[in-house]
Amino acid sequence: MHKWLVFLHVFGVMGFMLAHGGTTAMTFLLRRQRDPDRMRALLDLSGNSWPAFAISFLLLFVSGIVAGFSGRWWGEGWIWTSLVILLGMSVYMGWASRARYHRLRKVLGLPYFEGNKDQPALPAASLEEIYAVQATINPGLLAVIGTGGTFVILWLMMFRPF
């Protein structure tokens, strides 16, 4: 039973990475684009992977929590540390997505998310306004947090140092 839970957890992680690929590529390529249509294509690429992203995250999260009980790991520091890092990363990424990418979706005339609900598309803003919002995106910081956090969580789970 425990081994199957770990299997589901690892499968969920791999699915999550697959579902996250489009978003990661979008993060790096968006800053270089000057054409609004290309920006829309990248943002849609990321937005369309949301269902797979949510399902795989749920699978890895729930199987990880249950595996923590079946493996009797909840008394150990590494599992709590990984959980805190995972939640911290998720909160930051979610905030960054709303503050930056959904703002960009709004000025590009795409449906966006604001005030905890989906909003319909508005007319596109001027190019100056689009570029101003685009300039606030910092892919380097997201990459450092995403890669660094993943690296540390994986190390904690595989080496269980404390």
């Binding site: 990475m17 996250h20 684009q33 290309r38």
Partner: protein, 157 residues
């Protein structure tokens, strides 16, 4: 040493799936018949993914081979089965994926390029639609991944 190699193996698998996920998202985006400008952005995604995926793939295979020696598993059938399965899926996905991508990009960049109506009709059209389909790629990839993961974690053979 062994534990660090295993760590690198899992890390490179994660990186490989991340790059591969970018390609997968493009295959789904092509279904929506993007225009010429949107296709430029999708091409940029493919270029980025094809830069990183081979590096992660080589790391994944190399660390896997080394782990096979360190763990003395080359005499076990589960390792050969997973390697064979990985190669089979790789060849299949590469051939079908390339055909699908070439057709999708050609159609999007040049509206004059259309699939001949006879290619869409009949049994061959049905077979083509079944195999040259992002859902087929996704299902094959996920089932293959599940079997390889099962072989590696449970070592049943």
């Amino acid at each position: 040493m062994y534990e660090w190699l295993r760590f690198l193996h899992v890390l490179s698998a994660m990186a490989y799936f991340l790059f591969h996920g970018a390609v997968a998202s493009v295959t789904f985006a092509l279904r929506r018949e993007p225009g010429p400008k949107r296709i430029d952005a999708l091409s940029a995604v493919m270029v980025l993914a094809y830069k990183g995926a081979p590096i992660a793939g080589v790391m994944l295979v190399l660390t896997g081979i080394l782990l096979g020696f360190l763990g003395r598993w080359w005499g076990d059938r589960w390792l050969w089965t997973s390697l064979g399965l990985l190669l089979m899926i790789g060849v299949l996905m590469n051939r079908l994926g390339k055909a699908y991508m070439t057709e999708g990009f050609a159609r999007a960049t040049n509206p004059a390029v259309q699939i001949q109506p006879q290619a869409r009709a009949g049994i061959s059209g049905g077979v083509r639609a079944f195999f040259l389909n992002p859902m087929f790629f996704a299902a094959t990839g996920m089932i293959g991944l599940a079997i390889i993961l099962w072989l590696m974690m449970f070592k049943p053979l």
